[in-house]
Every structure is written in C-alpha cells, then in structure tokens.
Symmetry: C2
Subunit: 138 residues, 2 copies
Amino acid sequence: MQRGRGLSLARQQGEPQVAVLAGGGGVDALLKLEPERPGRMYGLISRLKAVTGRREELAAVLLEGSAGMPGCLSYVVARDLADPDALWVTEVWDSRESHRASLALPSVRQAVERGRPLIAGFGERHETEVAGGHGLGG
Amino acid sequence: MQRGRGLSLARQQGEPQVAVLAGGGGVDALLKLEPERPGRMYGLISRLKAVTGRREELAAVLLEGSAGMPGCLSYVVARDLADPDALWVTEVWDSRESHRASLALPSVRQAVERGRPLIAGFGERHETEVAGGHGLGG
C-alpha cells in the first residue's frame, strides 16, 4: 500500500538500484528503502474513438498488437457501453520505462500502423501509479 | 473479438442459458450462439477523490475489501499522477451479475463503511464490455 511514498523519484525512469546507492545514504538507506518500494507500477487509462462501424476491428488490432509485451502486467481493451464508437484501454506496467520500451517493439509498431486508419480520435488519457490489485501479471 | 454482437440481450443480467432456449430457436440457435458468445465480461472504470491527505488509506481499504471476490477477473487501484487526491479503480468481471452480487459480500460492505469517511467525492464512471486482454483472471 505504501509503495512510492517519500522516495518516489529514486527509481523513476527505470534507473538501476545502484543509482540510489550512489546518490544517497549507502546500505542503510537501501535497507530502509526496500520494504517500502518493491517496485513502482505505471498505469495508463485511455479512451479512443474508432471510425464509425470499425470498433471491433480496432479492438482486434489492439489485442493482437499487445500480446507478449515485456513488463506488461495487464492490458485490457473494453467497449464503452455508452458510446458505440469508443474503446477504453487500461494498462499496468512494471515501470514507466517498460511502457516506453514497448513502443519500439515490432509488434506494437505494426499495430500502430494497422490501427491508425481505424481511429477517429483520441479522448482522455490518464497516467497513474498503480497501488496494487488483483489480476496483475497474469 | 465478436463477443456480444447480435445476441447481446440473451444472457445479460446473468439469466441462465435455458432462458435463451425457451425464448428462441431451440438447439440450432444454441449451436449458433455458443461459438460467438463464450462469455460477456463486464468492466468498470471509476475515479474517486479522497479527502485530502487520506488517499493512501483509501487505497488500502479498497484493496483489502476487494480480495477474493467471486467472478472478479481484475481489480486495480491506481493513484492519478496529475491529482494528489484522486484514485482510479478499474475492474473486470466475468459478468455484470457477478459485480452486482459482490456488493452484498460482507468484505465489500465493510470496506464501503470504512471507506466512506475517506471519500470526498465520486468522479467519472464508465461501464464497459470487455473485449479481451492480458492479466485477466490472474
């Protein structure tokens, strides 16, 4: 529950643990740090509008393109029940850096190319730090 | 990808399969239905505002209260990076009915009681039909 509190900058951007030691108080600081910060999960909640009538195709492209991404703990594609053209994508990553790295994967780049003509627009997008939950890493 | 299309009312609200048979075309209809509709996952995306300074307590209550809910495939609590008081809760259920039933669980009712004084307000809330993804049922 207390992940990320107080020491939230230490490993942001995926810097290795050694950076914490180099910049801070040595082994004592590390020993204090570890129980509080086993990791810092990064989340995204995004809304997309598909071209009318092509939502299912867009969902399929997103699901195919998101398979097997390293560091991805959860990736869910859902149809908005109130808008026949809207999809929600909710993501959980083991770090912000893993998400960034995924954008260079061939499978993801191909999905972006295939999805582009199916997207009418981008809606809201929220970045989060995931506190925890059920169904992560499945 | 095609879940829920065309036959979307048949098992909504958790009605048993027999209701489809009784109302419709018998075994042929069932055979046509099954490949298309192995299930209908229900999702919720909700934003909560905690009382200032009490977001971590609220996150802990939500996570504790959501453990072991039958039919829950994913339940993630995340801190909004742009608002120090806001939390996002993203949920995936095997059906809308499982979500509804969870509200009567003693663990959930206790969490609602414990969480109430920590909540300053409710933000947006979106109902979805989940198309698929990674990290469900973990």
